[in-house]
């Protein structure tokens, strides 16, 4: 029996070896690590769509140095442990020269050690957690991980300022998702809001994946706020908006980039009206390549692109530009990306120009959108 | 002198009165027969004595290590520890385990190795294991199953399963053994072996209470009988008295039979 068991182990291992062995070398391979299954698969799809458009575009133009780009889609379900497995697989496969990913900050944090140890350049399209900034350098002080999105503290502060100065609200109820994103965003918002003299009338938390928010909303309603800050993602946000409406809580709602998905309006229906949100990308102020991108996206996927797709498109663009400059070599690609460090040599993507600081973070302006007549439109007043 | 005293024992299941004010004694060393038609409350009586059921009224006293104590409400494992062992009407063996393992489990309450002994294989644990095997083998030889030590219990014939169950209960070193229909389903040869086995058990000084429908068997080995019917004790005495007791005849054969 023991013999049988070990036989199985060895067979399995050899099978895995075969499967992970190098393929033909006339392609350049990059990996995209995101959740493609599980609760957050919907977001992963957005990233996939953005990267697909970029890669197909480059391939249609003849690839890089005549080599086609092949993308390995790595599903990590937004779970840290899975992400650690996936990152070690990517790091191990020397044919993969760079990564676009991960989607979730927690998965990204779990995956980073492997990338740093083995020297794999990573460009993250959507991870906004503040703590990532401390984990991007390897032992020799080289930055391997970059992100093309602003940090939570920035958009939280931005929102507080916008709410106070542009919307002119006074009494804010805060409803946040109890996770890294929701808490990080909320803390930055609350600090800045108090600094600005806003009155935070109540803070309530919810758990991701819940469907009934009435108990907390009932409590918040009792404090008579004139604005409701929902610090979380759109699936819960849409339900919260709807249930707030059912409870007769007709206040201005606002959220951050987690709300930027047309499904927010589909799910919340009329309750979505009068919701403001910050986004790293605004279709209405798009120009040039961005307009072309949006049209291509609509044509290809039959839905409107959201900022995740846009950022994924740009992240892939930065990685591929570095590959084109430095060739398929991980260390050289890293150097090429790290050299994009000032406004002068910034990467011109569809979400504006991107350049990185020492820890791979980027400074990008935030835009404000709102829901009006069942549509996302640019808010009448933007803030710089 | 009495090893077990049952004093107006009552067992009620909701509206059903399974045992009503039953009293009898068991003398140390005897083979007592507990008989009665189906549904008379015999197995319920065994379940009360062995701790599987907690009686709703009355008292049970049992003599253990020279002391008489009230045993109402003790758990089965405690009763086994006190010295009451039993078999079941429909054999209950650990069918997936070997014959030897079944008997070794019977030694459980007389041994004491714990987790640490098991993991570190201490000297005392090893000695105890050796002793468990030796004792178990002795009991298997006693019932005549020494050829089937490594068979799976579920694979044995019905008669052998009965014997194994007896061996397992003997392994707990009882002073009182409750046998619930041990001869059911046995052929005449096996029944003869069983009679011999019960005598040999009695010779070891173990008191036996026997539930049995085979009247010939009961009458031949029991000096004293207690008869239950519908939860009530209707008679008590030697085989001859019982056979002639009109109440007993009526209970077994129905009203009118005694008059005829």
């Amino acid at each position: 029996m023991i013999g049988k068991f070990w036989l199985k182990v060895v067979l399995t291992c050899s099978l895995l070896l075969i499967l992970s062995s190098p393929a033909l070398a006339d392609t350049i391979r990059i990996a995209v690590a995101s959740p493609f299954t599980g609760a957050l698969a919907a977001y992963g799809d957005n990233v996939k769509a953005g990267v697909t458009l970029k890669v197909d575009k480059i391939n249609a133009q003849g690839g890089i140095d005549g080599k086609q780009i092949r993308v390995e889609w790595m599903d990590e379900q937004c779970e840290p442990r899975e992400a650690a497995t996936v990152s070690s697989r990517i790091a191990q496969n020397r044919n993969i020269v760079g990564v676009v990913g991960h989607l979730c900050s927690s998965a990204h944090l779990a995956a980073l050690p492997s990338y740093l140890r083995h020297g794999v350049p990573v460009v993250a399209p959507t991870t906004t957690a503040v703590s990532i900034s401390e984990q991007t350098k390897d032992r020799n002080g080289k930055t391997w991980a970059f992100r093309v999105v602003y940090r939570d503290d920035y958009q939280g502060e931005f929102l507080a300022q916008y709410v106070s100065e542009i919307l002119g609200l006074k009494n804010i109820a805060v409803f946040y998702e109890n996770n890294d994103y929701g808490i990080g965003l909320k803390d930055a918002f609350v600090n800045k809001a108090q600094e600005l003299g806003l009155n935070i009338v109540g803070q309530e938390a919810y758990v991701g994946g819940a469907s009934d928010f009435t108990p907390q909303l009932t409590r918040l309603r009792g404090r008579n706020p004139d604005g409701l800050f929902i610090s979380g993602y759109y699936p819960e946000g849409a339900l919260i908006a709807g249930q707030a409406q059912n409870l007769g809580m007709n206040v201005t709602k606002f959220g951050a980039d987690g709300f930027d998905n047309v499904d927010y309006i589909t799910l919340a229906g009329s309750a979505a009206e009068n919701t403001y949100l910050t986004v790293p990308f605004l279709a209405d102020v798009a120009e040039g390549d961005a307009i072309e991108f949006l049209e291509n996206f609509r044509e290809r996927f039959g839905r409107e692109a959201d900022w995740m797709s846009v950022n994924a498109y740009d992240a892939a663009g930065i990685l591929l530009q570095a590959i084109a400059e430095a060739g398929p070599d991980r260390a050289k690609i890293r150097e090429s990306i790290a050299s994009i460090n000032s406004p002068e040599n910034a990467y011109q993507g569809i979400a504006g120009s991107t350049y990185f600081n020492d820890v791979g973070d980027t400074l990008k302006p935030a835009f404000v959108k709102m829901v009006k007549d069942g549509q996302f439109v640019a808010a009448p007043v933007q803030m710089d | 002198m009495n090893i077990l005293e049952i004093d107006s024992l009552t067992m009620r299941f909701g509206g059903l009165l399974a045992l009503a004010d039953v009293s009898f004694n068991t003398v140390k060393g005897e083979i007592l027969g507990l008989i009665g038609p189906n549904g008379a409350g015999k197995s319920t009586m065994f379940n009360c004595i062995s701790g599987v059921l907690k009686p709703t009224g009355g008292d049970m006293f049992f003599e253990t290590s020279g002391r008489k104590m009230r045993i109402n409400g003790y758990k089965p494992e405690k009763m086994t520890y006190f010295g009451v062992a039993r078999t079941f009407q429909n054999v209950r063996l650990f069918t997936a385990l070997t014959v030897l393992d079944n008997v070794r489990i019977g030694r459980h309450c007389r041994t004491k190795a714990n987790f640490f002994g098991a993991v570190f294989r201490t000297r005392s644990q090893k000695e105890e294991e050796q002793k468990i095997v030796d004792d178990s083998m002795n009991w298997l030889k006693f019932v005549g199953l020494e050829k089937y030590v490594f068979y799976t219990a579920g694979g044995l014939s019905y008669g052998f399963q009965r014997k194994l169950e007896i061996a397992r209960s003997l392994a707990t070193e009882p002073s009182l053994l409750l046998l619930d229909e041990p001869a059911a389903g046995m052929n005449p040869k096996e029944t003869r072996d069983l009679v011999d086995l019960i005598h040999r058990i009695s010779d070891l000084g173990i008191t036996v209470i026997l539930i049995e429908h085979d009247m010939k068997l009961v009458m031949s080995i029991c000096k004293r009988l207690v008869v239950l019917d519908h939860g009530v004790k209707i008679a008590q005495g030697g085989p001859r008295e019982i056979r002639q007791n009109p109440k007993v005849v009526e209970a077994y054969l129905g009203r009118g039979a005694a008059d005829a």
Partner: protein, 347 residues
């Protein structure tokens, strides 16, 4: 002759696996999967005690795994305790929770127990998620130190110049540490199985009423079994914490309990050696499906579908798993080998 060839082959394979990390061609990914398999081997062996040995469905095993992992993580971060001190502490903490949960609930029938354990593991996840002051909640617990072997105190005694301080970097040391852990748990399991304790468990599983009339205290032995199982789960968790160096409550969702239960069922309820195979097969299957399914044009969800189906079909056609033998360890006990010889010579 035939047997010796088989044995030789067995040791050859074992040797190949043992030496695998040292070969130049060894892949970090395969190593990672192998270490993961080892973690699940430990978990599956530990879980097997409850449904396999005692016949009770435990749907909350992952709760103890999580308790062990967070115990290890927090003790490392806040007190900098050594891995070797943490392992027994984590096991103890797991066992304590096992007793606390088991003692009041194990007197109930198996179905109630199943649902209580399920509720417990969900409560553990809720606790880990919501008690941010302690666990940092969904942010996860990063920055756990790797395993360190620190023998500097010894080297100062022998030769002060020597630095005996070894930090586990990469997967190779964890591979061997994992092997040692699996081996230790294996030995503990085999010794428990072939003992008064193991026999009592099997008796409970086979027929609890007969077991109690053999003098087995049902509650005590169920609680002992549950606590030991919990302790083994916690050890697996502690290893995980020091290996991945990152913990988050998501890692301990119900799905994990189901996966481990799948391994136990596949390998055979009550056969802890089968659990080793179950763990290896299911983890490897997951990795293979991750690659194969998209190439067949199937969504990756299909693999979860497959696990559910495997369970249903196993129960229908092979309820005892692929390796149904139970309580076989005693056959290797010298006492029984001797007995067998005696019986063989006498007949």
């Amino acid at each position: 002759m035939n047997i010796s060839l088989k044995t030789a082959l067995k040791y050859l394979l074992l040797g190949a696996v043992l030496l695998y990390p040292l070969f130049a061609f060894s892949s970090e990914y395969v190593l990672h999967v192998m270490v993961l398999i080892m973690v699940y081997m430990v978990l599956a062996m530990g879980l097997n005690i409850v449904p396999g040995f005692c016949g009770l469905l435990d749907l909350g095993y992952v709760g103890f795994y999580g308790i062990g992992a967070y115990t290890a993580g927090l003790l490392t971060i806040h007190f900098g305790l050594s891995f070797w001190v943490i392992i027994p502490l984590a096991a103890l903490n797991g066992a304590i929770w096992g007793v606390l949960l088991g003692a009041p609930t194990l007197r109930l029938t198996g179905d109630y127990f199943a649902i209580v354990t399920f509720g417990f593991s969900e409560l553990v996840v809720l606790f880990l998620t919501n008690e941010i002051w302690l666990t940092r909640g969904p942010l996860g617990l990063p920055g756990i130190d790797p395993v360190i072997i620190d023998l500097t105190w010894l080297s100062t005694l022998i030769h002060p110049e020597w630095i005996w301080y070894w930090e586990f970097i990469g997967l190779r040391p964890y591979f061997y540490l994992g092997l040692i852990m699996v081996a230790l748990v294996y030995v503990i399991m085999s010794r428990m199985e072939d003992s008064r304790l193991g026999r009592a468990w099997f008796a409970i599983r086979e027929d609890s009423i007969a077991a109690s009339s053999c003098g087995v205290n049902l509650l005590t032995y169920k609680v002992i079994g549950f606590a030991i199982s919990a302790a083994i789960g916690a050890v697996g968790g502690a290893f995980l914490a020091r290996w991945t160096m990152f913990l988050s409550p998501d890692m301990f969702k119900f799905w994990e309990s189901f996966l481990i239960l799948c391994m136990v069922v596949l390998g055979g309820l009550g056969n802890f050696k089968g659990s080793l195979a179950g763990a290896a097969v299911l983890i490897a299957l997951g990795e293979i499906l991750r690659i194969v399914l998209p190439q067949l044009g199937l969504p990756t969800e299909t693999r979860f579908l497959a696990y559910g189906l495997i369970m249903v079909l196993m129960m229908r056609f092979k309820p005892m798993g692929f390796f149904p033998a139970i309580a076989t360890q005693s056959q290797k006990n010298p006492i029984l080998i001797k007995l067998k010889k005696e019986l063989g010579s006498s007949s």
